[in-house]
C-alpha cells in the first residue's frame, strides 16, 4: 500500500476557528494522545494509527539561509510504517527492553495547535508544537526535546476508533528543533 503523502491532501483555506468542532476534536485527539504517550500505553496508541501510517522524524541540519534544505537528505531518526512501529511497541511488551526498564518519566506538552480543512471531509491537517520532558533514574540529568509536528488525521470510516470524532493518525512529520539530540535515544515517540 502506498502511503498518501501530505502534499496530496492540500489544506483548504486558513486555519479553522478555534470554536470549530473539527478543531476541538483534533485538539482533543492530540491531548488524549499525549496522555497515552506519557503513560507509555503504546498498544492503545497503535490502535489510533491507520494501516498506512507514515511516521517521519527527519534529521535536522544546520545550513546557510538560502541553502534550500535543513534536513539531512535520505536520513531520518524515525521513518516508520505500521510494521516497524508495531515491532517497536511489541519490544516494549517483552521483559527485556532495558532502555525503558525502569521506565522514563515522560511529559508531552502539546501546544500551538491549529487545524486545517482539506479537500476531503474525512481528513484534517493539524499542526502542533510539542515539548517532551524525559527523566530517567534518580540522579541523571533530565532531557528535553522540542519539536513541531504536522499531522494528517483521517476519520475512521468504521467509526470504531476510540478517539474524539473517531479520528486516526495517518501521517505525522516531526521537525525536531535540534541538529544534535541531547537525549540518549528516541526510544519514545513524539
Amino acid at each position: 500500500m502506498t502511503a498518501r503523502l501530505l502534499g496530496s491532501t492540500r489544506r483548504a483555506g486558513s486555519a479553522l476557528p478555534f470554536s470549530d468542532e473539527r478543531h476541538l476534536q483534533a485538539h482533543q485527539f492530540l491531548v488524549d494522545e499525549a496522555y497515552l504517550l506519557d503513560g507509555q500505553d503504546y498498544p492503545t496508541w497503535l490502535s489510533l494509527l491507520t494501516e498506512d501510517i507514515r511516521y517521519l522524524v527527519p534529521v535536522r541540519v544546520t545550513t546557510a539561509r538560502g541553502a534550500g534544505f535543513d534536513t539531512a537528505p535520505g536520513m531520518a531518526h524515525f521513518d516508520e510504517d505500521k510494521y516497524s512501529l508495531g515491532l517497536r511497541v511489541a519490544r516494549f511488551a517483552t521483559e527485556h527492553a532495558w532502555t525503558e526498564d525502569p521506565p522514563s518519566r515522560l511529559r508531552h506538552y502539546v501546544t500551538n495547535v491549529r487545524c486545517f480543512a482539506t479537500v476531503r471531509v474525512d481528513e484534517l491537517v493539524v499542526e502542533s508544537a510539542v515539548l517532551l520532558f524525559r527523566s530517567r533514574g534518580d540522579v541523571r540529568e533530565s532531557a528535553l526535546v522540542s519539536a513541531g509536528r504536522e499531522d494528517l488525521l483521517r476519520r475512521d470510516p468504521t467509526g470504531a476508533a476510540e478517539s474524539a470524532g473517531h479520528w486516526m493518525l495517518a501521517r505525522r512529520t516531526v521537525a525536531v528543533d535540534e541538529s544534535v539530540l541531547r537525549m540518549q535515544n528516541l526510544a519514545i515517540f513524539l
Binding site: 515491532l87 541531547r182 540518549q184
Partner: protein, 464 residues
C-alpha cells in the same frame, strides 16, 4: 594544560590494562581524558567523512576531531580537502553551517574570504590597512590544512599528527575486513546521515563493544530476538561466530549455515546482482572467509573511535514462498566522538553499496533505522548500559575495582580456545566468546597514552 602522567600511577594503570584488568575509573576520568585528547586523538587517524557526502565541486561538510572543527570540501577541480575552520585573522569560524555547497567561505567578522580550496582570496582594505603585500602576503595564505589527510575506499581520515604513518599502513590488516563493509562493488559505498546525538557515556565503551563483545548480544538484545526482528543473536548461535583482530581493528562474525558463496550471501538477504559484484570486488581470500570458513561480518571497530556494523534483520511482515523470513542486510558506520570523560556524541551513518538496486537501498535503510542509530532497537539497549557504566565509574570505589577483561584467557595466559588454525583473513581469530579484541583495543590505547608526542610546528600568519 597538558597533563603529565604521574609515572607510578599511570604505569601501574597501563600495566593493569595490558594484563586484562581494567581500573574501572578509566571510563570516567577527566585527567585520563586530557591525556587521551593529546596522545590518542592527537596521534591517530580519525575518520571525518566519506567522499560520497561531498560528491559535487563546492560540496562540504563540517566535522570535528574533538574540539577542532574541519571543513571537508571538494574544490572546483574535484580534490577533497580538510581545512581547519578558523579564520586566519581573528579566529572566527569561517563556516557555521554543517553541510552545503559553496565556492567561497567568507568570515562574517571582517569579511576575509577563502575559496573552497582554502586559499585566501578576499582581504578588505588589504592596501590601506596592511600596506598591501609589504605588510601581509595575502597570496600565500590558506586556511590551515589538516596536518595529515588520506582516504581508503572513499573513507576520509585526518590525523592531527603531521608525521603520522600513511593511512594504509595505519589500517594494516584491518583493511581486509573494512572491504566487506565498504567495497561490495567497484562503485564503493554511499553514506546517508549522520544522525547525531549525545550520550552520557565514555567513548571507549562503544568502541570496545563493537570490536568484540559478542558475549553481550544474547543478553542485552534478547528483546530483538523475541519480537522476531533478528533471528541470529541467540546465545547458542552467537558463540559459534569468530572474533578476529588484525593490527588496528577487529570485529565479530556470525557462523553461516552450510552453503556456497552465493547461497550464504542470499541467506543474509543479498540479491544475486549484488553477490555477483562482490565476487569480483573481493579478493580470493576475502571470498574464502565466506565460502570456506562460513563467517559473515557483523560488528567491528577501528582504533580509536570508528565502528561498523552489518546485520540482516527481518524488514517486513510475512515470509517468502518457502516460508522463510524476508531478511535484508544493512551497514552502519558510527563514530564515538568524545565530548568529555563522561559524554560522547554519536554520529551514525547508513551505508550502502552505491551500485545496489534502488529497492534494496530503500529496504536496507529501513533495516538500519529499526536496528541502529538514534532510534535503533539494538542501540537503545546498548546505550542504556553504557550510560550506567560511565556514571558509576566516576566515583572513589571505581578506583579500587579492577574489572576482569580476561575472558578467553586462563590464569596461565593460555587461551581457553586455541586460535583458528585455518582462517582466510589476516590477524588472529577465535571461535566463541572472549575479550581478545577489547584487550587489543585497550593495549593500543595504553601504547598511545604511554608515549608523548613531539610538539607540532606552529604557523605564524603574515609575520615578517
Amino acid at each position: 594544560m597538558p597533563v603529565q602522567p604521574s609515572t607510578t600511577s599511570h604505569s601501574q594503570l597501563l600495566a593493569d590494562v595490558r594484563r586484562g584488568m581494567i581500573p574501572a575509573h578509566i571510563y570516567n576520568d577527566a585527567e585520563l581524558f586530557s591525556l587521551e585528547r593529546e596522545r590518542v586523538f592527537g596521534r591517530s587517524w580519525i575518520f571525518l567523512a566519506h567522499e560520497s557526502e561531498v560528491p559535487q565541486p563546492g560540496d562540504y561538510v563540517v566535522r570535528r576531531v574533538l574540539d577542532d572543527s574541519f571543513i571537508v570540501a571538494r574544490d572546483e577541480g574535484g580534490t577533497v580537502r580538510a581545512m581547519f575552520n578558523m579564520c586566519l585573522h581573528r579566529g572566527m569560524q569561517v563556516c557555521r553551517a554543517e553541510v552545503g555547497n559553496a565556492s567561497h567561505f567568507r568570515c562574517p567578522y571582517h569579511g576575509w574570504s577563502y575559496r573552497n580550496d582554502g586559499r585566501l582570496t578576499g582581504l578588505p582594505f588589504h592596501r590601506e590597512a596592511y600596506g598591501g603585500e609589504d605588510g601581509f602576503r595575502r597570496g600565500e595564505q590558506t586556511l590551515l590544512p589538516a596536518p595529515a589527510l588520506d582516504s581508503y575506499n572513499g573513507l576520509i581520515f585526518v590525523s592531527l599528527n603531521p608525521t603520522a604513518p600513511p593511512l594504509r599502513e595505519y589500517l594494516g590488516d584491518f583493511a581486509f575486513y573494512l572491504d566487506f563493509y565498504t567495497k561490495q562493488s567497484p562503485a564503493g559505498i554511499e553514506l546517508a546521515g549522520p544522525q547525531r546525538w549525545r550520550i552520557k557515556a565514555n567513548w571507549k565503551i562503544g568502541a570496545e563493544n563493537f570490536a568484540g563483545d559478542s558475549y553481550h548480544t544474547p543478553q542485552t538484545h534478547t528483546s530483538v530476538v523475541e519480537i522476531g526482528l533478528f533471528r541470529e543473536p541467540t546465545a547458542s548461535k552467537r558463540k559459534e561466530g569468530a572474533l578476529y583482530w588484525a593490527q588496528r581493528g577487529g570485529g565479530t562474525t556470525y557462523k553461516l549455515p552450510p552453503g556456497t558463496f552465493e547461497s550464504r550471501l542470499r541467506y543474509v538477504g543479498y540479491p544475486d546482482v549484488m553477490i555477483e559484484r562482490m565476487r569480483t570486488s573481493w579478493s580470493e581470500a576475502q571470498r574464502r572467509m565466506i565460502t570456506e570458513d562460513g563467517f559473515m561480518i557483523s560488528a567491528a571497530s577501528l582504533f580509536p573511535n570508528l565502528s561498523l556494523v552489518h546485520n540482516w534483520p527481518k524488514v517486513a511482515a510475512g515470509s517468502d514462498s518457502a516460508g522463510a523470513d524476508t531478511v535484508l542486510p544493512f551497514i552502519s558506520l558510527r563514530q564515538w566522538q568524545p565530548i568529555s570523560a563522561g559524554e560522547t556524541e554519536v554520529l551514525s551513518w547508513f551505508a550502502v553499496d552505491a551500485a545496489a538496486p534502488a529497492e534494496f537501498k530503500k529496504l536496507s535503510y529501513k533495516a538500519y533505522l529499526m536496528c541502529f542509530g538514534s532510534t535503533g532497537m539494538f542501540e537503545q539497549d546498548d546505550v542504556e548500559n553504557w550510560v550506567s557504566i560511565t556514571s558509576t565509574a566516576a566515583g572513589v570505589m571505581a578506583r579500587r575495582l579492577l574489572l576482569n577483561n580476561r575472558m578467553g584467557l586462563l590464569h596461565n595466559n593460555k587461551p581457553v580456545t586455541p586460535p583458528l588454525a585455518h582462517f582466510a583473513g589476516p590477524g588472529t581469530a577465535h571461535v566463541g566468546y572472549g575479550e581478545y579484541n577489547q584487550r587489543a583495543m585497550l593495549a593500543l590505547w595504553a601504547d598511545c597514552l604511554e608515549r608523548p608526542l613531539a610538539p607540532a610546528a606552529r604557523t605564524e600568519l603574515g609575520a615578517p
